[in-house]
């Protein structure tokens, strides 16, 4: 096969990311050549600030070594800018005279620092802050001279000023406005920032308009519009960047502020794509890597001829990479007339947080001094989450609700390198930071793959994201407006659910076919998800696929670290009889169960049962009337109850009986994630109903229904849905709530994050305001329960899926196999 020729111009962060994404999709499709004006292979431009500050060395920030290009079969031309594009003959020409034909051309020429056109701006000693050469020039100047002026009090200017100061220079920052970083900060936050930078030793000249750079052979000072001046041996202009579109413009491509592209990253010439800072998309130019990486992914998708990716623009957030300064900003942080603001100000601790809210949704955030919750606010903002349910505590942050296993010690920056971040896998802060910088990681998934941090229970995800943010700056997340279900597809959960429903797809191959899955069998992430979606949508029609279930659900028990299983029979509402207890005891003795334990869910767990024994154990339990407790499944788990009116002197209703009814109605139903309920007989709430997925608190006048609680990794207190007057209503509302969750939540999303994502008001609208809709949900739940309320244990005890439980015995298969 003859490969098509792809030429990429601009060997920087966006372009090379697009090539990497392309190679993942179609490693063989193109013969690739890359031209870069700089003499280096692709490096992490973001890290220039730490290099300048002496915290990193140049060779530590290389992202793709020359060997990488060679291994991928890419022809690399460094230090050789492309000077001409001949679109008629589809050919590019470089400064050194190399001439190459292309079938597809990718422009990723980045941007140039803007140099204010004042007299003297060309003098030696006046530079921008953009590449390795600039950093080298600054480091050299810092060794020979002492006075530096940085023009521009934005992100880049402050990072440059901080770096120069660290190199022993006396630095003055000149800023046109009266607010530092006015594009990211409001006045109070900017004042705090200025005060702490001043305390570090920086000087500021605010509202100063540069009129001229002074000097003869080299810069000696800067003069301002009001006639005053300062001395300077080095002037760094950091007043902004301009998309570098000269090459495209010369070739006649349509440009405005940047090279104009559509949602597939194609320019007006269909053979030419463009990504990165040189691009203008829907009127916006971006200067941060997160959106550029998203562009790169979409561009690769089209270069690989997959044709479904779309770039729809990005919301960006900002962090300043000055060690010791903790600052976060995102979205529209300056309120307009119709907006409301929530502010928390604690001058003594140097903490300031502001959220701009419109219609109960976050529009923007500025934080100073304590930015731990920045990524949480950012997520709420991107997803347009309705915050009315937790508005009154939102400023105290998410960690306020408890982050199991991390205690209070979550002030990230102050943590020592050996502080344990991931309690499951024992990964420390230093290890994570090291992996991020040395391996050039930008996303949570990459950190998970390389360090295992946050890869297990996920409770440290927020901490790892914050580490990413503070290590690589705002470039950390891919800011996916829609996150693909897994690596096998570009489609999100919602798209997959929608297609299954709208096109009435009833098998896994059909879904994969219609949505162009990249892998023939899917993977361990998407198979269980698809199996659930099909099961939930087509009860009675879709046949469950055992091979697409995790072992726990396939074997109907929890796998233990030694490969044995645990068995938890259902005890409806936590009630049991002497006969049932006796039956459990008999089973335990007969099969020599090594440990019996009362679980946190009011029932009994038999630990350490051998897989081969499972069917016989279940047979005996079935005979005594037990069904599976689904303690292993993404399914209805337990319904906890308290003593209630029958015995307790405070009980207002029959909580135990109601719990049994709830469990009888709902057991056996498969869910996106596990689902727990509880009924407490009075507001003393002994059954802990307010941290359950669905909780009932009985009161004298009826039943309070609570939803979306979670007692696990991140404790979340339920939201009050409503109050009802009868047990029948409790049953109907619970089933309708469950069905809504079953139909609309993403696989592996518990009710707590789901309720936060879609908003309490949405759920109220579906369950309270729409009576017919509620009734229909209830009916659909009842319909589906016909098929799922048969006991999997009984079926297997009677011989179903026997191969799962019987190993092949090959006696005498020789010992040399060991």
């Amino acid at each position: 096969m003859i490969r098509e020729k792809l030429v990429m111009v601009g060997n920087g962060m966006a372009g090379v990311r697009a090539i990497e994404e392309l190679l993942k999709l179609e490693p063989e499709m193109y013969r690739i050549s890359v031209f870069g004006a700089e003499p280096h292979p692709n490096y992490n431009r973001i890290m220039l600030s730490p290099v300048l500050a002496g915290e990193k060395k140049v060779d530590e920030i290389i992202l793709n070594s020359r060997e990488w290009y060679a291994e991928q079969g890419i022809d690399l031309y460094t230090g050789d800018p492309v000077v001409e594009i001949d679109r008629i003959n589809r050919r590019v020409k470089s400064a050194s005279g190399v001439s190459l034909d292309y079938d597809r051309l990718l422009l990723a020429t980045g941007s140039n620092p803007f140099i204010i056109p004042v007299p003297g701006a060309h003098l030696p000693g006046v530079i921008g802050f953009r590449d390795i050469q600039d950093v080298e020039a600054m480091l050299e100047a810092s060794r020979a001279y002492s006075k530096a002026v940085v023009i521009g009090g934005g992100l880049l200017g402050l990072e440059a000023a901080n770096g120069l100061m660290k190199n022993g220079m006396q630095v003055t920052v000149v800023h046109l406005m009266d607010i530092l970083m006015e594009r990211q900060l409001d006045k109070p936050a900017a004042e705090l920032l200025k005060a702490s930078l001043e305390a570090n030793g920086l000087r500021f000249l605010m509202q100063a308009q540069t009129a001229a750079v002074l000097g003869e052979e080299r810069v000696t000072g800067v003069q301002f519009a009001d006639g005053s001046s300062v001395e300077a041996d080095l002037v760094v202009m950091a007043v902004g960047i301009r998309p570098n579109m000269a090459l495209g413009q010369k070739a006649g491509l349509y440009c405005e502020r940047g090279i104009v592209v559509n949602d597939t990253m194609q320019t007006y010439d269909p053979r030419i794509y463009a990504v990165g800072e040189c691009v203008q998309h829907r009127g916006n130019c971006y200067g941060l890597v997160a959106p550029l990486f998203e562009q790169a992914r979409v561009c690769a998708n089209h270069l690989a001829r997959l044709g479904y990716g779309r770039y729809e623009g990005s919301v960006t957030s900002t962090k300043l990479k000055v060690t010791g300064i903790d600052l976060f900003s995102a979205g529209m942080f300056n309120e307009q007339d119709e907006d409301e603001t929530l502010v928390l100000q604690d001058p003594a601790q140097g903490v300031y947080k502001k959220l701009v809210i419109r219609d109960n949704r976050i529009k923007g955030a500025v934080m100073y001094g304590d930015t731990l919750d920045g990524s949480w606010y950012f997520q709420l903002m991107r997803e347009g989450t309705d915050i009315s349910g937790f508005r009154n505590t939102i400023l105290f942050g998410q960690h306020d609700l408890g982050d199991a296993g991390h205690g209070d010690g979550t002030r990230l920056l102050s943590l020592p390198d050996d502080a344990e971040i991931c309690g499951c896998n024992g990964v420390c802060k230093g290890e994570i930071v090291n992996a991020i910088t040395s391996k050039g990681l930008f996303t949570l998934d990459e950190v998970r793959a390389h360090t295992k941090a946050s890869a297990s229970c996920g409770s440290c995800t927020g901490l790892v994201e914050s580490l990413l943010a503070s290590t690589v700056g705002e470039g950390y997340s891919e800011a996916p407006s829609k996150k693909p279900l897994c690596g096998c597809t570009g489609h999100s959960h919602d798209e997959v659910i929608g297609v299954i429903r709208d096109l009435k797809l009833k098998s896994m191959p059909a879904v994969r076919e219609v949505l162009n899955w990249k892998t023939p069998d899917g993977c361990a992430s998407c198979r269980p998800a698809l199996n659930y979606y099909l099961l939930a949508n087509w009860p009675g029609e879709y046949r469950d696929d055992a091979q697409s279930r995790f072992i726990n659900e396939r074997a109907h028990g929890n796998i233990q670290k030694d490969g044995t299983y645990s068995v938890v029979p259902r005890m409806f509402g936590g009630l049991c009889t002497p006969g049932e207890l006796r039956a459990i005891a008999d089973v335990a003795e007969k099969f020599r169960v090594p440990e019996i334990k009362v679980t946190g869910g009011q029932r009994i767990d038999l630990f350490g049962v051998k897989k081969e024994d499972l069917p016989s154990v279940w047979k005996d339990l079935s005979a005594a009337g037990f069904v599976s407790g689904h303690a292993y499944g993404k399914a209805l788990r337990t319904v906890k109850t308290c003593a209630g009116k029958t015995w307790c002197r405070f009980g207002t209703q029959n909580s135990t009986g109601l719990g049994v009814k709830l469990e009888t109605l709902t057991w056996g139903s498969w869910m996106p994630h596990k689902f727990k309920m509880a009924v407490s007989g009075c507001p003393r709430n002994c059954a802990e109903a307010t941290i359950k997925d669905f909780g009932v608190v009985c009161v004298d006048s009826g039943y309070e229904l609570h939803i979306g609680g979670n007692g696990g990794i991140k404790v979340r207190i339920t939201d009050l849905l409503c109050k009802v007057g009868s047990e029948e209503e409790v049953l109907e509302y619970s089933a309708a709530f469950i069905q809504l969750y079953r139909e609309e939540a993403h696989y592996l999303e518990r009710t707590a994050p789901w309720v936060e994502r879609v908003g309490l008001n949405y759920i109220k609208a579906r369950l309270l305001e729409d009576e017919t809709g509620r009734r229909a949900l209830y009916d659909r739940f009842r319909h589906s329960q016909q098929f799922f309320q048969d006991d999997p244990w009984k079926a297997r005890a009677e011989g179903a899926e026997a191969h799962e439980f019987t190993p092949l015995q090959i006696a005498g298969l020789a010992s040399n196999l060991s």
């Binding site: 793959a449 892998t519 899917g522 993977c523 198979r527 091979q547 697409s548 396939r554 796998i559 092949l808």
Partner: protein, 116 residues
């Protein structure tokens, strides 16, 4: 020289599934993928000894049921950033019967450290 032993019929293993073979000395996981290719590897994850036969199978790999390491069924190597290797055994399918060889591919042994 290979010494082939018949161990099962192809249809005794579910597609995209596995069966465990218990021998006198080791436990072996026998996998069948969606193209009816069959693989035999030691039933012991190089990470912490998880029973690989209980994992989810896709392409030519399996995800360990305990902590999700992904193992290549043909080479026995852990994939992605994880490192480790498990012994593989030669298998062949003839007329719907699966044969396992007792002669282990020597290059693959030795690196099966059991756990790290």
């Amino acid at each position: 020289m290979n010494d082939w032993i018949a161990v099962a019929r192809l249809d005794e293993i579910p597609r995209l599934g596995a069966r465990k073979i218990v021998t006198d000395t080791v436990e072996i996981a026998l996998f069948r993928n969606s193209n009816d290719q069959v693989f035999a590897i030691r039933d012991r994850c190089p990470h912490k000894g998880g029973p690989l036969s209980q994992g989810i199978v896709y392409g030519t790999s399996v995800s360990c049921p305990l902590h999700n390491w992904r193992i290549d069924l043909a080479s026995g190597e852990a994939m992605g950033p994880d490192q480790g290797c498990v012994t593989t055994y030669p298998v062949k399918v003839e007329q719907g019967r699966i044969y396992l060889s007792t002669v282990v591919d020597q290059t693959a042994v030795g690196s099966d450290a059991g756990s790290r």
